[in-house]
Symmetry: C2
Subunit: 324 residues, 2 copies
C-alpha cells in the first residue's frame, strides 16, 4: 500500500506539473494562484486512497481526483465573493486580490476546467465519473444556497443544519471516495459503503471545523477564533445553545446574532459564556465523534481485506485528531 | 428535411417538458424563469439543423443542443451581474429580480446542468460532445474577460475586437453546429467546414447586433437605441470611427467615451454625428456582409448534397436579414 505521504506527494507533483496559465492572463492568473496554494488537498487524497483500497491503479485516478480539487477551489472562490471574504488559508482571496468580476469569471473557468479534467479519466469510466461530478456539483450549490438562506432565517433546526453541511461539505468527500472506487472497478455495494463513509466523515469534519472556528488557537490557525460568531453564523454550536438555553439566555443569544456582522468583544464573551453554561462545546464534540464512529462502521462494511483499509483508516484518524 | 419552424417547435416542446425546479427554490426558480423565456433559441436550432444536414436523427441531438442553450443562458446571467444590467429580453434580469448572490449561484448551477445535459448524448459520441463543450465554454469565458479588459484599455484594435467577439459569441455558434455534426457522424473535413461556417456567421451576427444597438428601432427592439454608446462600449463602430476620424474628432470621441456611463443626449448626438461623418454604419455593414459571405463559402464546401443544405442556408439568410 502507498502511504498517505506518498499519495500526497504524487498529487502535489501532478498539480505542479500542470499548466493553469492562459490568455487573457487576468482570467488564468487567479486559477494558477489558487491551484499553487498548498492546502490539505483532502479531496484528491481521499480519491486516491479509495482507488488503491479497491485495488485500482492510483495513476488512473489522478485526473478525476484533481478535477475534484479544482471544483472545490472553484466553490471557495465563488463563496468568497458572496461572503466578501478578504482572506483564505492566510492568503488574500481572489475576490480581494483582483476583484469580484475576475473572481466570478475565473471561478466559472475553474468549474469548466474541473469537467475537462474529469473527462480525461480513462474511457471505460469517464462517463460514470462525470455523472458523479455533475450530481455532487449540483448538491454543493444547493448546500451553499441553504447556507445563504440560513442568514435571514430564524427557525433553522439542527437537522436542517446537518443537511446543509451534508450538501455543502460532506457529499464531495463521499463523491471523491466513490470516484476512486469507480476508477478501481469496485462493485455497487462497496461504492455505496465508501460513499457513506465519506458522508459521515465529512459531517464530522465540518462539525470539527465549527468547533475550531470557535475555540481554535490563534497560534495554530493564524486567525482569531470566533469568526463564525462575529459573522452571526448559525452553526451547530449556536443552534444547540438555542435549544438548551433558558428563555432569557435564548433571547440574549438571538439578540447578539442580530447585531451587524463584525467583531465585538462584549458580544463574543457573552456568547462564549452562554455556550459554556450549556456545555455546548462538549455536546458538539460528542456529536462529531458519533459521526466519526458511524464513518468507521461504514468503512468496516466494505468488502476488501482489512489490511487494504488501513491507510484510509489512518487518514480518517488523522483528520479526526487534527488540530487545524 | 424538417423546416426551421418544426425544428424550433421540437426544441420548444422539449425545453417545456423539462423540469428545472428543485430544492432550495431560491436556487432553481431563477433557472426555471430563464429557461421558460422564449428567445430565438438560435444555438439549439443550429445544432439540430446541422445534425439533419449531415443525415443524423435530430432527436439524438436534443440534449446536447439544449445543453448549449442552458450554457448560453448561464453566460447571460453571469454577464448581467458584471454589467449590473436590470433588463434582458425586455424582462428583469436574475441579478435584478433576485440578487447578485442568487444570480451567481444559480448561474453556476446552470453551467453544471449544461454538462449534465451534454452527458445525456448517446454513448457513442457523448465524450466528443463534452470535450467540445468544455473547449468552447473556456473560450467564451476568455472572450468575456477580453471584453472586460477593453473597458479600461485605450488601445483596442479592430482585430482585437473581432477576436473578442469570435470568442464571446461566434465560437459557440461554431461549436453547436459541430456538435450537430458529431451526433450525425459527419467526417472531420465537414465538421471543420460547418464549424468555420458558424464562426463567420457568428461574427456577422455580432456586428449586426452592434449596428442594431446603435441604429435599431425602439418600436421593434423595445429598448432605446444607443445603449453601447451610453455604456462606452468599444464596438467595431466606435473603433472604426477612431481609425478614420481627424485628430480633433478622435479627441472628441475619446473624450465622450471617458464620461461616466449613462444616457446623455448631447453625447449621443455628437457620437452619432461623428459616426455619420465617417460613414461608419455603411462600413460596418459591409464588413458584416463580407463575414456573411465567408460563412456561405464555408457552407458551400460541405460535402453533402445541395438540397440537404437548403434549410440551414435559409436560416442563415433569415439571421442575416433579421430586423431584431
Amino acid at each position: 500500500m502507498t502511504s498517505v505521504e506518498n499519495i500526497q506527494n504524487l498529487i502535489t507533483q501532478f498539480i505542479e506539473s500542470q499548466d493553469f496559465m492562459g490568455t487573457p492572463v487576468e482570467l488564468y492568473a487567479p486559477i494558477d494562484y489558487t491551484m499553487r496554494q498548498r492546502g490539505k488537498r483532502m479531496r484528491p487524497t481521499l480519491a486516491l486512497l479509495s482507488c488503491e483500497m479497491f485495488g485500482g491503479d492510483i495513476h488512473d485516478c489522478l485526473t478525476p481526483a484533481v478535477a475534484a480539487e479544482i471544483f472545490h477551489n472553484f466553490t471557495l472562490i465563488h463563496d468568497d465573493i458572496m461572503d466578501e471574504a478578504p482572506l483564505r488559508r492566510g492568503l488574500e482571496t481572489v475576490y480581494h486580490k483582483w476583484n469580484s468580476n475576475i473572481a466570478l469569471l475565473s471561478g466559472d473557468t475553474m468549474l469548466i476546467k474541473a469537467f475537462q479534467y474529469a473527462l480525461c479519466t480513462k474511457k471505460s469510466c469517464s462517463h460514470q465519473v462525470l455523472a458523479e461530478l455533475c450530481k455532487v456539483a449540483l448538491e454543493v450549490c444547493e448546500g451553499q444556497q441553504h447556507d445563504l438562506n440560513f442568514e435571514t432565517r430564524d427557525d433553522v433546526t439542527l437537522d436542517e443544519y446537518i443537511e446543509m453541511i451534508r450538501l455543502k461539505t460532506a457529499v464531495l468527500l463521499g463523491s471523491v471516495l466513490k470516484i476512486g472506487a469507480i476508477v478501481a472497478g469496485a462493485d455497487e455495494t462497496d461504492m455505496k459503503a465508501v460513499y457513506d463513509f465519506g458522508i459521515a466523515l465529512g459531517i464530522a469534519f465540518q462539525l470539527q471545523d465549527d468547533i475550531f472556528d470557535c475555540y481554535g488557537d490563534v497560534k495554530v490557525f493564524g486567525k482569531m477564533p470566533g469568526g463564525d460568531i462575529a459573522d452571526n453564523k448559525k452553526t451547530y454550536l449556536y443552534l444547540k445553545a438555542l435549544e438548551l438555553a433558558s428563555a432569557d439566555d435564548k433571547r440574549m443569544l438571538e439578540g447578539y446574532f442580530k447585531m451587524p456582522k463584525g467583531r465585538d468583544n462584549k458580544k463574543m464573551q457573552a456568547v462564549l459564556d452562554i455556550f459554556a453554561k450549556y456545555h455546548v462545546r462538549e455536546i458538539v464534540t460528542e456529536v462529531m465523534t458519533s459521526y466519526y464512529e458511524v464513518s468507521l462502521r461504514h468503512l468496516a462494511m466494505i468488502g476488501t481485506p482489512e489490511e487494504k483499509k488501513s491507510v484510509l483508516r489512518e487518514y480518517a484518524d488523522y483528520l479526526y485528531n487534527r488540530v487545524k
